[in-house]
């Protein structure tokens, strides 16, 4: 089908324009201004979701990539935007989460907290969308920075001491990771003479082994610290519990997944053989990430801290999918990749719903402390909120018929098929511990009597708060019940991600200029 590739610019341009428009009214702080900003954000988020669904409809077949050569510069020279089924799935999920979040935020933020929240959210959306369609390393870096900059400000919006402390850690460590990423682009350009991903994929095969290992390792460090994998995760639990719950919800659902997306995109495209060679390393990282996350969650004592640690343990499962991407005896190669993509889909939906529900519980009760009976009684007080939290929590733990069960089953299947018994065992163990942690949250936070009332608060607008959570939870259940077509869909996306030649053909880098190193030395 012939399609105007300019649609690909819309996910970047639309949020940018909307943010710029809504900043026009930011000069005075009144409820009216916040309302205007919120309405613009709702419109932009809905429009963005429509565009994403359109792109998904175009690419869902798995045989087409939409390529936009910005300004008609041919491939390695200009900016290239590429969308395949995986990008479109991520764009759609991002659009859905963002729309839900805007509704949730309008139910929980008051006017003072809401000032300029929505424009920042739109900038974040622009960065995330851009990272999903970026077709070369440097643009990936730029979009990472755009989303990070927006997230820095969102994280410290309000400027309370805890936020400033958490924000400093978050900013410094993420800036270091970005700098490593930038250094990698320098190394790549200096040695291979190009930054375009398709062009790099062509040249990477001829590159010497040491160079490929250096580049792959540096990229693993850079994306890994954004994703929160094992030795590089510590900025996440230090900062995610400090901002407003709406901010935590979108961070937990979206930001680490951008790092995971970059790993899922770059590794199969540039280093498919390293995925096999480094399998023990990647699986070890996955196992340690899972374990650290789940044990950390047991040690902390507020709802959002527990849920932040679970972000880390869940990232471990996705990395496990990456590690098993190309293995398989009975199952086709690529099944692991499909399981990983399916896990990302499940996780983004459920984690956002869970963090929203936990945040709403905190707001309703005035505290998120799990000890001493500060929380409790929420089942009676607002049963709908407790209900959606329950479903989301058990979806995260992997209880059927939720999407969590199917996605964990897929990973387990490929792990057993590839005869990696130990990682299968660890993933089962972590599932069990997650279930225990969720039961603890439920018992201490929702069931049981409330013994000590902390602060009578303005309740959040329950209808606006619960509706988006209910929508996401329903989506999770639907994915679990109708798992067949959804898994087929992620298999299509996985096949397309693994199809390097197709990617290179679609982008079609044209130049014949040799790598710089070969010319001058």
């Amino acid at each position: 089908m012939n399609v105007n590739a300019n649609w690909l610019a819309a996910p970047v341009v639309l949020p940018l324009m909307a943010a710029a428009v809504s900043l026009l009214v930011s000069t005075r702080v009144t409820p009216k201004q916040t309302r205007i900003q919120r309405n613009v954000a709702i419109l932009a988020a809905a429009g963005n979701l429509l565009v994403a669904l359109f792109l998904l409809w175009l690419t869902a077949g798995g045989d087409q990539r939409i390529v936009l050569q910005v300004g008609l510069w041919p491939a390695p020279f200009g900016i290239t935007l590429v969308a395949d089924a995986f990008s479109a799935i991520m764009l759609t999920l991002t659009g859905l989460l963002m729309l839900c979040l805007v509704v949730f935020a309008s139910g929980t933020l008051d006017e003072r907290q809401g000032l300029n929240f929505y424009p920042l959210l739109l900038f974040l959306l622009m960065g995330v969308n851009g990272a999903f369609v970026a077709g070369d390393l440097f643009n990936l870096y730029v979009f990472f920075e755009v989303l990070l900059m927006a997230s820095f400000v969102l994280l410290s919006l309000g400027g309370r001491p805890a936020q400033v402390n958490g924000g400093l850690r978050y900013v410094l460590l993420n800036l270091l990771a970005s700098t490593v990423f930038l250094a990698t682009t320098g190394v790549v350009y200096g040695t291979l003479g190009t930054l375009n991903l398709a062009h790099l994929a062509e040249r990477m095969d001829a590159a010497p082994d040491w160079l490929r290992i250096v580049i792959a390792g540096m990229l693993l460090v850079a994306y890994g610290s954004k994703a929160g994998i094992f030795p590089l995760f510590f900025w996440l639990p230090a900062s995610y519990h400090t901002p407003h719950p709406a901010v935590t919800a979108i961070f937990g659902g979206l930001l680490t997944k951008v790092g995971i997306y970059a790993l899922f995109r770059i590794y199969p495209l540039l280093f498919p053989d390293l995925l096999v060679e480094w399998q023990p390393l990647i699986l070890t990282i996955a196992a340690l990430t899972m374990l650290v996350g789940v044990f950390g969650a047991m040690a902390v004592k507020t709802i959002r801290r527990v849920l932040s640690f679970h972000v880390i343990s869940q990232v471990g499962y996705m990395v496990m999918g990456l590690g098993l991407a190309l293995s398989g005896n009975q199952l086709a190669a690529g099944f692991g990749m499909a399981a990983g993509i399916f896990y990302i889909v499940h996780h983004m939906i459920v984690k956002t719903a869970l963090l929203m529900a936990g945040g709403a519980a905190e707001l309703t009760m005035g505290t998120g402390r799990l000890e001493k009976g500060y929380l409790g009684g929420l089942v009676k007080r607002s049963p709908v909120l407790a209900g959606v939290f329950f479903v989301a929590a058990f979806s995260l733990a992997g209880i059927p018929p939720s999407s969590g069960f199917i996605s964990k089953l897929g990973l387990l299947q490929i792990a057993l098929d590839a005869q990696q018994w130990w990682i299968a065992g660890i993933s089962l163990l972590v599932s069990l511990l997650t279930l225990m942690s969720m039961i603890r949250l439920w018992q201490k936070g929702f069931a049981g009597p409330q013994e000590d009332v902390v602060a009578p608060l303005r309740r959040p607008n329950l209808r606006l708060t619960v509706a988006p959570i209910a929508l996401l939870v329903t989506a999770s259940l639907a994915i679990g019940v109708f798992s067949g077509p959804f898994f087929e869909w992620s298999s299509v996306a996985a096949r397309q991600v693994l199809d390097r030649q197709g990617y290179i053909r679609a982008v079609a880098p044209t130049d014949q200029i040799l790598p710089i190193g070969e010319q001058s030395h």
Partner: protein, 155 residues
């Protein structure tokens, strides 16, 4: 030869930056980050093969025979320009955060962190950290109460 100079320069800058980043003073950390990004910018600049010597500008278009082997690669400069803008913005944001933190310290309320220690909290602060999470909620409560009192006093 120029490549070697660049390599040494990048190595020295990175070493100094790492040393500064490992210090406890926030100002040194900011300086360290600045040096670190400079080092990376130099690294990218080093990829422009500057020992070819010629600027990529055509003075005489008619005499140009298509030989580009003596031109310096201009693309790294565009990359560096972007990177400089980004790192400058983030540095400004970090300094603003540090300033905010400093004023919080000066007020003597709520913040039990030490000024010179960006990552480790005092043991007491660790105990208070959980309470700190909910300061923003308590602030909202206080604000509501003040509003209510103001309303009542008006009556």
């Amino acid at each position: 030869m120029i490549a070697l100079v660049f390599a040494v320069l990048v190595a020295v800058l990175m070493g100094t930056a790492t040393y500064l980043l490992l210090q406890r003073s926030p100002i040194r950390m900011v300086l360290g980050l600045g040096l670190f990004t400079h080092a990376v910018n130099m690294l990218i600049f080093g990829t422009s093969v500057s020992d070819r010597g010629q600027p990529p500008v055509l003075l005489d278009k008619a005499a140009f025979d298509g030989d580009i082997s003596q031109f310096v690669d201009p693309l790294p400069q565009a990359l560096i320009l972007t990177a400089i803008v980004i790192s400058f913005g983030i540095a400004a944001f970090i300094i603003a955060l540090l300033h905010r933190r400093h004023t919080l310290d000066m007020s003597g309320e709520n913040c039990t962190d030490r000024v010179d220690d960006p990552f480790a909290l005092e043991p007491r602060a660790e105990l208070d950290a959980v309470e700190e999470d909910y300061e923003w909620l308590e602030d909202v409560v206080l604000l509501r109460r003040q509003e209510q009192q103001a309303r009542e006093s008006r009556k």
